[in-house]
């Protein structure tokens, strides 16, 4: 195994006018591919030319823009190319997007930077270097045209993939000068456009991936078809942490299509000619498990552990300001409530899957729907015991991700192990039941909130205790002092003015695997906080909206979205009979979002979701239609969880298996969603997750308004609160 070719990375300075004149940002120019190739060949006019790692210009003037993050429905396969194209000044109608290669990224010294797609980070973390890549590309193309004409580059301008020499009106296309541009040294300095000069960013550009998706053409992970490929179905120990004890391969050996039974540490897989054959044989395979002592854990034990976390005196203080204990002693009124939210599964439409081929020469290929191609590459390399540079990851389409397919690459590891054992390419696909029962779940948690209110109705102090498992700890990223800031996301709620405040955390260690679930712990913590604030407001005779506004005097962004949503929803205006509304606000993943939910409650206690009004401030707007789609998406996901989502444990096992016992919101139940983008335009916020956290508390607040009873745990179905 030879060493990778060292890439010459040339640092140069970019002045971002958007960031203020004179501010210099260091920027590593993505190395050109020719630097990685040996021998170096001159670019040819009839071949695609890589202007830099992100941009390839073709002789027909079409532009290929590489995307290092994963498209899982959130629209970044369109939005990220828009960022490049805005500065490149290319013809958008000729732009195509393609995944950047994780292997190439490794080979070229991390030229594509992070490939992780989570935390709503795609736009907010990569907009700077993507816009710069576009600007550098444009400058190179303009310089090449200028040299061709033997004129000054300053006399030329670029628009729509055409460079014009302004004094003479001569033109050259990007395709015509791309080969020459690729030989030039990149500029020392490029200027990024001011937002008012954007012509593409901020417009409702049609998604690049819809045409193929409506024809059923894109290859999802489950659709991978490799010559000579076999199919695998898998069953992991139903008790988390358990291992495979015994299985009787002979019992299924004669079944049609069955090729091999593969034993893994904690799972057994059947490999067959088709997935159906593998799946059927697996159902018939006798298996016994070592349950590692967790085979008696029930939901009551989980709750008891969380309750013990509320009671312990060993919690770690994670946020404190003022003198909360003194304030509680002197306050007029105290309100306290305890909340619970259950484990939740991601339930992506496409179950976990990965196809692997372990070649005889030691190369490994995986075809995988992944939220982090680099993580998949590392997982495959680690599992196969090869150098990461020997691994090629082929990104497939993702049938949803929601946090399941990033940090945890269990499906990739399994596929590589099975392919290794079989000696042929294998497509592993989990059944829906396997997917439901072997997730990395949104952590269950219990939280106690206490508020002290003075005679003027102002919240003078709050104390919050969080008892929950830690996702970071489960990933081995535990903080030395036993804290986990992610567990307390949204709890210190810095935007509300609460002069005296303390939040502490009791880490719970349970056998259920936990992971990142769309908006992570903001999803349940915002429910606790925003629903509790309604309780405080109502018990002190205040309007929940006005009560919040009173605490947002120093938080203009949150105040703005709250006011916008109240205005658009007609807060304070009379509602039809039996109709009620609730409001909530949250800031997360760089954006601010407020929602009003309207419900109609029937005499029998059932209710209908009428409307969700949403105001969101993501700072800059890349594609307004994507924002609207993500708001609709996050609301659907959040409503499903609030209404029905409940993963429960019995004998150490998850009791739910499919959409019959883990139901999803349906089209008939879906409320109208009205999205109002209130963009303040001075920051880059996320969009995939921020619209999720407000919807559960806004819904609970609406039901609270209807019934007079707060909802101290989710899902609503566990309280007999059902949709009509």
């Amino acid at each position: 195994m030879s060493d990778p070719v060292r890439l010459t990375r040339r640092a140069f300075l970019v002045r971002s006018t958007a960031a203020g004149a004179g501010l210099l940002l260091g920027f590593h120019l993505p190395a050109r591919r020719k630097f990685a190739a040996a021998p170096m060949t001159a670019p040819r006019d009839d071949q695609p030319v890589e202007v830099n790692a992100w941009i390839e210009i073709h002789p027909d003037n079409s532009v290929l823009i590489r995307v290092a993050r994963s498209e899982m429905g959130q629209g970044i396969f369109t939005a990220l190319p828009m960022l490049v194209a805005e500065e490149l000044d290319c013809d958008w109608s000729k732009v195509r997007a393609e995944y950047a290669s994780a292997n190439e990224n490794r080979r070229r010294d991390n030229v594509y930077q992070s490939m992780g797609t989570g935390g709503s980070r795609s736009i907010r973390d990569s907009n700077d270097y993507l816009r710069m890549a576009g600007a550098v590309g444009r400058e190179l193309l303009v310089s090449a045209a200028a040299s061709c004409w033997n004129v000054l580059a300053e006399e030329c301008r670029a628009a729509n993939s055409i460079i014009t020499h302004t004094p003479t009106g001569r033109t050259l296309s990007y395709g015509a000068v791309a080969a020459a541009a690729a030989t030039l040294a990149p500029p020392e300095l490029v200027f990024l456009k001011e937002p008012e000069d954007w012509h593409l960013l901020g417009t409702p550009v049609k998604r690049l991936d819809v045409r193929d998706k409506i024809a059923g053409k894109p290859v999802f992970g489950t659709d991978v078809d490799i010559p000579g490929m076999l199919h695998a179905a898998i069953r992991a120990c139903p008790v988390f942490g358990g291992t495979l004890q015994q299985y009787d391969a002979a019992a299924i050996a004669k079944r049609s299509g069955v090729v091999q039974v593969v034993a893994l540490d904690n799972a057994v897989a059947v490999v067959a000619e088709s997935w159906w054959q593998a799946h059927q044989a697996l159902q018939a395979l006798p298996v016994t498990w070592d349950e590692a002592g967790h085979g008696t854990v029930n939901d009551a034990d989980i709750r008891a552990s969380l309750e013990a976390g509320l009671a312990t005196d060993k919690a770690v203080i994670m946020a404190e300001r003022g003198k909360p204990d003194v304030a509680f002693k002197t306050s007029g009124k105290q309100i306290e409530a305890t909340y619970y939210a259950p484990y939740l599964a991601h339930a992506t439409m496409e179950p976990m899957t990965c196809t692997a081929a372990v070649h005889k020469d030691g190369r490994v290929e995986v075809w995988v729907p992944t939220q982090n191609a680099s993580a998949s590459l590392d997982a495959a390399a680690r599992t196969a015991g090869v150098d990461p540079l020997r691994v090629e990851v082929h990104n497939t389409q993702l049938g949803g991700g929601f946090g399941r397919r990033g940090a945890n690459q269990d499906f990739t590891e399994q596929a590589v192990r099975i392919a290794q054992a079989v000696g042929r390419p294998v497509k592993l696909m989990w059944s829906r039941e396997e997917d439901m029962q072997h997730d990395f779940y949104r952590p269950a948690s219990m939280v106690r909130l206490a508020a002290a209110v003075n005679s003027a109705g102002q919240l003078t102090a709050m104390r919050v205790r969080v008892a929950a498992p830690s996702i970071l700890t489960s990933l081995g990223r535990m903080y030395a002092d036993g804290t986990d800031p992610v567990a307390l996301q949204g709890i210190p709620h810095k935007f509300y003015t609460v002069p005296n405040f303390r939040a502490d955390y009791a880490l719970r260690t349970l056998h259920v695997p936990v992971g990142f679930w769309r908006s992570v712990n903001h999803s349940q913590n915002a429910y606790y906080r925003e629903h509790f604030l309604d309780q405080v407001a109502r018990e002190t005779g205040q309007d929940p909206y006005e009560f919040r506004l009173g605490m947002l005097k120093e938080a203009p962004k949150q105040r703005a979205v709250l006011q916008a949503v109240a205005e658009r929803a007609g807060w304070g205006e009379a509602l039809p009979e039996h109709t009620h509304r609730g409001i909530a606000v949250e800031t997360c993943y760089g954006s601010h979002c407020a929602q009003v939910v309207e419900v109609k409650v029937n005499a029998d206690g059932t209710f209908r979701l009428l409307r969700v009004v949403c105001a969101i401030d993501p700072g800059h707007v890349v594609n307004p239609d994507t924002i609207a789609a993500q708001v609709e998406s996050a609301i659907t996901y959040g409503l499903t969880a609030a209404l029905f989502g409940d993963i429960t444990l019995h004998n150490g096992r998850v009791q739910q298996g499919n959409f019959d016992d883990y139901p999803m919101l349906t089209l008939a139940q879906m409320p109208v969603v009205e999205t109002h983008i209130v963009a303040s335009g001075d920051f880059w916020g996320g969009i995939g997750e921020p619209p999720l956290p407000p919807v559960a508390p806004a819904l609970c607040n609406a039901l609270y308004a209807a019934t007079g009873k707060p909802v101290h745990s989710l899902p609503l179905s566990a309280h007999g609160l059902h949709l009509a």
Partner: protein, 157 residues
């Protein structure tokens, strides 16, 4: 040998007659547009047409449809199919996994009820979408219905 007619093409398959149609399509005919989502007929990702009616392919034995005309998403003409055109117009798609099933279900609905009410759509489109495209699905169905109606009106004139 089992006979199967899919998208107008005749096939002979050497498979277990109990194999669900879904897996005959995916693993034997390599038509991957029809998706697996639940295997129990709840999510609708595997919706195909059997003699023009929407059917969940995970619940149908391949032997039971060997004399029927089966249409999958690959058998449509996206540039002229009003439902697919409406899908583009309203940018319905997010991850794209449920769309083939949703589209097949919507086309079958419009065949039965050319101008469906919201209640008709509620009753017919029970497919699950985790990305939350439901409201756009509804809009697209209404738009496709009026597109077909307009065309018909124009033809009648």
């Amino acid at each position: 040998m089992l006979e199967l007619t899919v998208n107008g093409q005749h096939h002979e398959l050497d498979i277990d007659p109990d194999t669900p149609l879904l897996w005959a399509l995916r693993d034997h005919l390599h038509l991957h547009g029809t998706k697996y989502g639940c295997g129990i007929g709840l999510c609708g990702s595997c919706t195909v047409h059997v003699d023009d009616r929407a059917v969940r392919a995970c619940l149908v034995r391949v032997a039971d449809v060997s004399d029927k005309a089966i249409t999958t998403i690959e058998g449509l003409t996206p540039d002229s199919e009003p439902v697919q055109q409406a899908w583009r117009e309203f940018e319905v798609t997010q991850c794209g996994y449920c769309d083939p099933g949703m589209i097949m279900a919507s086309i079958a609905l419009l065949r039965e009820k050319p101008s469906p009410s919201d209640a008709d759509i509620d009753a017919a489109i029970t497919n699950i979408c985790r990305c939350g495209t439901y409201n756009r699905v509804r809009q697209a169905i209404h738009a496709a219905a009026s597109k077909v109606a307009n065309k018909k009106e124009a033809a009648d004139v």
